[in-house]
């Protein structure tokens, strides 16, 4: 049974209304606290929040029998300035591009030595997932290794000073895609969707989530941990530093990404979409873009309504493809879309 509570802000109130077994892991004083406070993440860091929620949920789902593998990136740097460590779970960091392969090795070792009650969760930022870590991750997927891989997508290389990654959205200004001259920021027609690429491997489970709905994120981690084989969760995590959003707005910005249709939240099994989180009322992409200085150039002076329109078109296509609008007649109330339309790459 699914209970959906529409609320703004914290889920604490919602937790009190829910049956104990449905309450969020984070609502429990008994939670594992995989990553403790005192780490060096920026204020309002979406990644730190998501990592805590993901690992606490995974830890509870595995009764604490869990190993974490971490790629190089913000999360690794801010959590382990030697001799300190924020990790209360067994945690291994090797390199930037190899988290998936390291996790495969951990998983194989646990299986070979009869300790396969211990589960493996790998985590990386979008650079370590969609760009430099892509080869190892694809290998992990195709071998169907028993690993849950979680990507915290903040849409750029934030740790090194906000450069463009393969997950940076079109029109975003980064340190390597400045809107100078005739440029509108990051080029249209570029970038990749790792969830769709993961689905093409026909792995048991693929899901997307955001820090705007932590209950949904937890539920997806719990679902993933109830399965074996290669599983992938892609979490949108706003980065106040890189996006130029207020540190108090992280949750709101993530919610606007979903409500505008720019970031579809869905689940897929064995390569087919099985559920999508519907939007009650679509908001214009402008509402999502305006709170972020990385899109300032679209609104300065006469602005670039053409570019905003192109982004709106992108959002609308997502909504059509994944059936994100609740009132659409062909979209049953349980969120199952029918025949997702193929996504076409837009031209600049």
């Amino acid at each position: 049974m699914t209970t959906t509570l529409y609320q703004i802000g914290t889920f604490a109130a919602g937790n009190r209304l829910l049956a104990p077994e449905q309450r969020a892991v984070q609502s429990s004083t008994e939670r594992g606290n995989a990553i403790t406070s005192g780490h060096r993440a920026c204020r309002g860091c979406g990644e730190a929040l998501a990592a805590r929620v993901v690992l606490d949920a995974a830890s509870r789902a595995s009764s604490g029998r869990m190993v974490t593998v971490n790629a190089t990136g913000c999360l690794e740097v801010f959590s382990t300035p030697y001799p300190e460590s924020a990790w209360q779970v067994p945690w291994l960091h090797s390199l930037f591009g190899n988290a998936a392969a390291v996790a495969s090795g951990v998983s194989a070792a646990l299986r070979a030595t009869g300790r396969d009650d211990i589960r493996v969760v790998a985590q990386a930022g979008d650079g370590g997932t969609v760009d430099i870590g892509m080869g190892c991750l694809s290998g992990m997927f195709e071998r169907n290794d028993d690993v849950l891989f979680v990507c915290y997508d903040n849409q750029g290389y934030m740790n090194t000073g906000v450069q463009r990654s393969g997950a940076t959205p079109p029109a975003a200004s980064t340190a390597t895609t400045r809107p100078v001259g005739t440029s509108v920021g990051n080029a249209f027609g570029t970038g990749k969707s790792l969830p769709l690429i993961a689905m093409a491997h026909e792995i048991p489970y693929v899901a997307t989530a955001t820090v705007a709905d932590l209950h949904d994120l937890e539920a997806k981690v719990v679902t993933a941990m109830s399965m074996h084989g290669a599983r992938y969760i892609h979490v949108l995590v706003p980065c106040p530093l890189g996006w130029g959003s207020a540190s108090a707005e992280t949750i709101r910005v993530a919610r606007l990404a979903v409500q505008s249709g720019l970031f579809p939240v869905f689940e897929a099994r064995e390569g087919a979409v099985t559920a999508a989180m519907t939007i009650r009322a679509q908001v214009p992409v402008e509402d999502y873009l305006r709170p972020q200085t990385r899109f300032d150039h679209l609104f300065r002076g006469d602005g670039r309504p053409d570019v905003v329109a192109a982004l709106q078109e992108r959002a609308d296509r997502n909504i059509a493809r994944f059936g994100l609008l609740a009132e659409q007649p062909d979209n049953p109330p349980d969120g199952r879309p029918q025949d997702p339309a193929p996504l076409e790459k837009e031209t600049p």
Binding site: V67, E76, Y82, P90, W91, S94, A101, G105, C136, S138
Partner: protein, 402 residues
């Protein structure tokens, strides 16, 4: 029991008897027969409780070994040449994290130009990666070094690379004794990791270390490498006691007493070089041979002890340090500070060009006749006519452009 076996097959069977829990490998010539044979052994169930990961790249292979080893499992891989370079980022990571991974390198040249044949450019390019590097002179020694490598790696908590010449050893059929399972089990106890990713006792492995402690961590790594010299000797002695044959160790001097000239070499060249020494000694030429069994850590004292009083040393380099001379030759020179020994740094056998008895014999005689320089790198088996023609053509083009 002696059997007629291909070197790769013998190594694969030996590795299997060392009971790795995880094998992660990506195929590359001339390592392929090793990983093929291991795949057969795992698939046939002859390697109980071993996981074989067919990874997407050598970078993935070494990374999977890092994960497996950190999870407390004995991990093994094999590679060569471009593959070794493709995993280069992960090599200092494995040693920096003190993970006792064992890897066979079927030594092969580095491109461009692409070349699949044997020399030592691949292993020597990873000289400073923090791995113990052993070199096998024969297939029997390659077999024996793998048994020793696992013992060595786990005793030191350091990764160990066993080098065997590509094709020359990996694809050679000869009589080899693969140690029996019971004997290997007696020699090599089950892997007891110093730490592992234990949910009951969580550890953070791979933290970020800043200027405040980085130098100290590196110092301790360097110190452990140097201490490994003793362990290499110790394990080789234990192996001799257990299996009744000499294999491994730091250096292998052969007829070096009163020698006028001593050849220094690594790998399969030592076989031909031994024959050349015997032939020349029979003719009254005072020549000896120093085989380097352990290239990293460098056996500084042992090399000096053998070469210190020798008038002339000829280093057989199967790799070059482009723009700076040789790799092995520089280490040899460093072992001979302030002495009177003349070192001839010689390159031969690059990219699979055979290092023959005739070639080595001619080299020694040329050195004794004063025909080999001792200050510049000498290419002993070079087609001088071809390179001079090319140099002249380039000079003419430059002249025409002026």
């Amino acid at each position: 029991m002696l059997r007629q076996l291909e070197g790769s097959r013998a190594v694969a069977e030996t590795v299997a008897r060392c009971r790795p829990a995880v094998v992660a490998a990506y195929p590359i010539s001339p390592q392929t027969h090793i990983v093929e044979a291991l795949a057969d052994l795992v698939t046939a169930g002859e390697l109980a409780s071993c996981e074989y990961l067919m990874v997407e790249s050598e970078f993935g292979a070494m990374s999977a070994c890092i994960g497996a080893s950190a999870a407390g499992a004995r991990a093994y891989t094999a590679s060569a040449s471009q593959g070794l370079l493709f995993m280069a980022e992960a090599l200092p990571n494995a040693s920096g994290l003190s993970l006792p991974i064992v890897m066979t390198v079927a030594n092969r040249a580095l491109g461009a130009p692409i070349n699949i044949w044997n020399d030592h450019s691949d292993a020597l390019s990873q000289r400073d990666a923090g791995w113990v590097q052993l070199f096998a002179a024969s297939n029997q020694e390659a077999v024996d070094l793998h048994v020793q490598a696992f013992a060595l790696a786990e005793r030191l908590s350091l990764p160990v690379m066993v080098n065997m010449d590509g094709f020359v050893l990996t694809h050679a059929m000869e009589e080899v004794d693969v140690p029996e399972q019971d004997d290997v089990d007696a020699f090599l106890p089950p892997f007891q990791p110093r730490q592992w990713l234990d949910p009951d006792d969580p550890v953070t492995i791979g933290a970020m270390v800043g200027p405040g402690a980085f130098t100290e961590v590196k110092y301790l790594m360097a110190d452990r490498q140097i201490r490994a010299l003793d362990t290499v000797t110790e394990v080789a002695a234990e192996f001799r006691a257990a299996f009744g044959r000499d294999s491994g160790g730091l250096v292998r001097p052969y007829r070096t007493d009163d020698a006028e000239v001593v050849l220094v070499a690594m790998g399969s060249t030592l076989g031909s070089a031994t024959d050349v020494v015997d032939d020349l000694r029979a003719e009254g030429v005072a020549v000896g041979l120093l085989g380097i069994g352990c290239y990293r850590p460098w056996p500084y004292d042992e090399v000096r002890a053998v070469l210190g009083g020798v008038p002339r040393v000829v280093v057989v380099n199967r790799a070059i340090a482009v723009g700076a001379g040789s790799v092995l030759g520089r280490d040899v020179r460093l072992s001979l500070p302030g002495g009177t020994t003349v070192v001839h740094d010689v390159v031969l056998g690059l990219g699979g060009r055979p290092v023959t008895r005739a070639g080595l014999r001619e080299l020694v005689l040329d050195v004794l006749a004063g025909q080999v320089p001792d200050e510049t790198l000498h290419f002993a088996d070079l087609d001088r006519e071809a390179v001079h023609r090319e140099l002249a053509r380039e000079a003419a083009l430059e002249e025409a452009a002026r």
